[in-house]
Symmetry: C2
Subunit: 397 residues, 2 copies
């Protein structure tokens, strides 16, 4: 009873806002394009009979009353901002699928016990204030006294008061549900339409400095060098080996390097890397760090310094909600797998405070954050059906 | 008969111009500091009775007449510019040692057959126009029609006419001699005061691009990655192995890398390295390149693109002059070795057009281009004695 024609039309109506020909979709947090898409979505929610509210950070809410409005809400949604040159579905899918669930409840005259609240978050993808800013503030995870926060906010015309006034009392929320594209290629390669997220990976980042000795590239023989670049290369090769030996879902990535002094004819004296590790299990990340540090000691010639940058622990989703989603899949005879999310999501922030569930649909070739991002419409329909069914099951608990 | 007190005083008088406390000496080409040092040196040359000339690029010349002024000059000297935060001796030593030779010839009433010309070059260390600019122009190696040259010159207030008017007829120069610090640590570690340069290494640079696939660092499992950073690391480790296997004086350095897109949570899709190789033998450099290319093919996952940036062949110094320097060392009972120069020098540019010789003195701990650069005064005295003796030997040929 999901109306795919309507859902598709809404996904395109909102999702195409910010497309530039050949460059995908850019709808950055706090941008004019972002607010334009938000306004269109608010109008859609009003047309669907929802009571619409916005907080001062650009998070948008739409409430459908329940039979008992003293009960906390079942909250469903995702985010509406994109990365630069992103795709059609990341965030936008979850927001519009939530609205589609409301249409279907209305059409079928289904009145839930609990109020249902749609949410469309701002600034999930990142801003000066880091990722999942809108949801972190809402559940009270963003410390308003954080060093330098006011200055960062100023760049977007915001104040600390805007942050404080956007914090919500989480006892008003019974559960949070997010439908999202997987972004990885696991479901797609196995041809499974639904992933049920059991946990969202923790992220630990270190700055690793390889410290050698800068010297003249022409006059310093190979055997007398303390080449920080060579030391760093050897360590990176070891990091890949260690990461592979840990087994999935562990991943390690070096996405940023800096070479000093950085001249073609000077042997690098210092190379800095940023190492990111993710896993569902914090202890496994620590184990990998220890292996990497040990490996660094054995490289010789060059010294290594490790500096912890961030350490965001993994979170588990609600076992109860995982069960509900699983029952919905079995009931509808839709293949599924229970899996980890390697990517961060609004659901991760919220899961710290509110029982949370997350449903994945396949990403074609595992691509996301790029113009080629794609999910089959049939999978979107299945994901939305499971989302709706899960809402109804949760409402009964 | 070298007067070390006078030589030392002049080395300090010129060489200290541009020192900032704790930051070494900065006397960049075309800077006010450079021209100030040049002016002091011109005054010293005038006081020594030389006929002083300057070209429009800031190269400075001082001529002592010979018995037969129809004969070409014996040219001696080095450069007066430094790198940023450099040391006392690089360039400055050779210029002042040349002047000291003139003083001694005067004091001893030695009249040479050939005129002797001191030269103090500008812009050896580099500028927008590349290294050894002053000497390259003088001997006609700088193409005035080179793409973009006029724009680069403009930044220093110079024109193409300034370049053209600074080209000299190399038949006016019988030979060129340069005394310079070794910059490497070979002489110092062996405690040998004199190096006789038999050739100056060729420099070949490639931009190597590792081409993988940018992807989400959280959702892409280790075994499905095409990580350009990991590919680049493996290649760098192989390059070091190949470089070591080539044997001295071969060296390979990666001093610059660039990572794209360069975000902590995105697997790099492209990494660019600049590989520099040096050797006395061009064919050995080509052999190493072939080995590196072959090694790159075997890395898999990632493709590599090689782009030749520069290919400056090695040059040999004059065998005749090497012989003269060797005879001077034997005559004075000063230990020496015949060796390669890994660093580029004005002598390298000039050796393409004029018979050239080069004398090295030890660099303490092999350090140069830094405030710690040092050479013992006794070694400086020996180097200058050999320089003078070589001039006299060359004059007789
Ligand atoms: N979902 C998503 O791509 N979030 C971006 C933050 C991250 O996981 O790197
Ligand atoms: N002598 C010297 O250090 N020249 C700089 C150019 C180079 O050899 O890299």
């Amino acid at each position: 009873n999901i109306n795919l024609t309507r859902l598709k039309s809404n996904i395109l109506k909102i999702g195409e806002i910010g497309r530039k020909k050949g460059e995908g979709i850019t709808r950055l947090a706090f941008s004019d394009v972002y607010y334009k898409a938000s306004d269109v979505f608010k109008d859609l929610m009003k047309d669907a009979g929802l009571k619409v509210k916005t907080d001062r950070l650009g998070n948008v809410f739409g409430k459908r009353e329940g039979k008992n409005n003293d009960l906390p809400s079942i909250m469903i949604g995702s985010h509406m901002d994109t990365v630069k040159n992103g795709g059609l579905f990341d965030g936008n899918l979850g927001v519009n699928a939530a609205l589609e669930c409301i249409y279907v409840l209305e059409e079928n005259n289904i009145k839930t016990k609990h109020p249902i609240e749609i949410v469309s978050f701002n600034a999930e993808e990142g801003s000066e204030m880091g990722g999942t800013f809108g949801s972190r503030v809402m559940v009270g995870l963003q410390d308003p006294l954080e060093n330098g926060l006011a200055d960062k906010l100023k760049k977007y015309g915001l104040t600390l008061d805007d942050v404080k006034s956007s914090i919500r009392n989480t006892s008003e929320i019974k559960a949070f549900l997010e439908l999202h594209i997987e972004q990885g290629g696991d479901l797609f390669s196995k041809d499974i339409p639904i992933g049920i997220v059991k946990g969202i990976a923790g992220i630990t980042r270190y700055r690793i400095s390889a410290l050698g000795e800068a010297n003249h590239a022409g006059t310093t023989p190979m055997n007398l060098r303390k080449d920080a670049m060579m030391g760093a290369s050897k360590l990176m090769v070891e990091i890949e080996k260690i990461a592979k030996s840990m087994g999935a879902p562990f991943v390690a990535t070096i996405g940023v390097t800096d070479v000093f002094p950085g001249a073609v004819n000077i042997i690098p004296g210092r190379v800095e890397l940023i190492l990111e590790m993710r896993d569902l299990n914090q202890e496994r990340i620590e184990k990998a760090v220890n292996k990497i540090k040990k490996s660094a000691q054995s490289i010789g010639e060059v010294d290594f310094k490790f500096e912890l940058l961030i350490n965001k622990p993994p979170v588990k989703t609600s076992r109860r909600i995982v069960q509900c989603i699983e029952e919905a899949c079995i009931d509808k005879n839709i293949p599924y797998q229970i899996m980890a999310s390697g990517a961060g999501h609004d659901a991760k922030a919220i899961a710290n405070k509110v029982p949370t569930g997350m449903i994945f649909v396949p990403s074609k070739d595992g691509k996301s954050h790029c113009p080629d991002e794609w999910t089959d419409w049939e999978d979107i329909k299945k994901g939305t059906e499971i989302l709706l069914d899960t809402i109804i099951r949760l409402d009964r608990i």
